[in-house]
Symmetry: C2
């Protein structure tokens, strides 16, 4: 681990609580526009279309398309499924940008602030640059660089998403530590030569689906930490 | 100007004093390794190879090559021209990374800190991502995003360098204000639809070649400001 110079972060789920934030945004949108819906179900359904929409691009069936555009197509479909009608394009755009306004988990800003003293911090998310920039400004996330899928033009877990991010940082993969709440993301990064830190987020899918933290749960990863403050402790930052 | 949402910055010359910094780095390198040279002439010669090296890529004669690599090739050539011999690869790499350690002009951090409250701040430099990240960490430059030539895979003043940067930011060109000390950079940005702010840096090429500031010198640009603090004043930030 002494070779690690940069930490690269998954964002949705790992850094921010997308589900509670989308529910909050949906409820506010519903109140403002007089639209009723089960916003928890709406949030889960929207996220449910996330992987299938990226699969079209990963497979090459579809040219590069940024996540904001995929999210918006999914949203239009969902509004129809939920019987929500009569919204103009500006209203749909506003709701789509709920993904730019996600809240970080409570430990994130304190942890990143410590980690930044010792490591380069970069996003390695499937979120597009504008989304990540707007989220970071609102939430106070102190990234050194916004990288990941859009600059790399490859959605995780495609190897190019990881390899091109390391190349942008001027580092070998072994000098990069991927931080994520999702084992499949970490396994793909590891397959590219990255070091791995597993930070489970038991509440990602809501309190009903919470799973207790176990430090010994995933011995295949280099570090397992309960949150970003614990990660800073582990890495001596 | 009310439509402007992001400021995109030229960096070498506009944000940092590359010449005094490279002279300082050369002198320190020379002292540490017992190498004598006219480091001011060395700095000017190194910078003199900058545009020709990028022209190979701009013209398509050469595949995409990041600036660190172009700088290093120029450096190897210059060391030979200056009769500096006997350096190993690690020493040459160290001197090449002098470009990662450039100092900002005195007004920069204060000006950017104010501007960041109102605008997204992104680099739009020909410098590669790692160079910009390392420079920003050392100098305390509070960028929201490191963009420009490498993510866009096009060296300024090619239009794609500007247009792809605006696209990464999710903005129309008219929502971006290009800030630069070099009229040719601003004219290229303007040709792509960007707004323009001219911040001359009279000392860029050394005190002997200083030119007095004149606010009315370039009426073709939307803003002319003496430094980044004056730019923040002009933009109400």
């Amino acid at each position: 681990m002494e070779t690690v110079k940069a930490l690269t972060f998954d964002v949705f789920g790992t850094v921010v609580d997308w589900r509670a934030s989308i529910i909050r945004e949906g409820e506010a949108f519903g109140r403002a526009r007089g639209v009723g819906a089960d916003w928890a179900r709406f949030a889960d359904a929207w996220r449910g279309l996330y992987q299938p929409s990226m699969d079209e691009v990963r497979s090459g069936r579809r040219a590069w398309t940024k996540l904001d555009d995929l999210h918006r197509e999914s949203l239009v479909r969902l509004l129809d499924d939920f019987g929500i009608t009569g919204l103009d394009a500006a209203a749909i755009d506003d709701l789509n940008r709920a993904w730019h306004r996600l809240d970080p988990w409570p430990d994130v800003v304190a942890g990143l602030t410590r980690l930044k003293r010792k490591f380069v911090l970069a996003t390695l998310s499937n979120g597009n640059v504008a989304l990540m920039v707007n989220m970071a400004r609102r939430a106070g996330l102190p990234w050194d660089a916004i990288l990941g899928a859009e600059p790399a033009r490859a959605y995780k877990p495609r190897p190019d998403a990881y390899l091109r991010t390391a190349d942008f940082l001027g580092l070998r993969p072994a000098e990069c530590l991927m931080v994520a709440a999702h084992p499949n993301d970490l396994m793909a990064a590891r397959g590219c030569g990255f070091r791995t830190a597993y930070v489970p987020r038991p509440l990602e899918h809501g309190p009903e689906r919470a799973v207790a933290f176990r430090a010994d749960a995933r011995p295949e990863f280099d570090v397992v930490a309960q949150d970003f403050v614990a990660l800073a402790d582990e890495l001596g930052a």
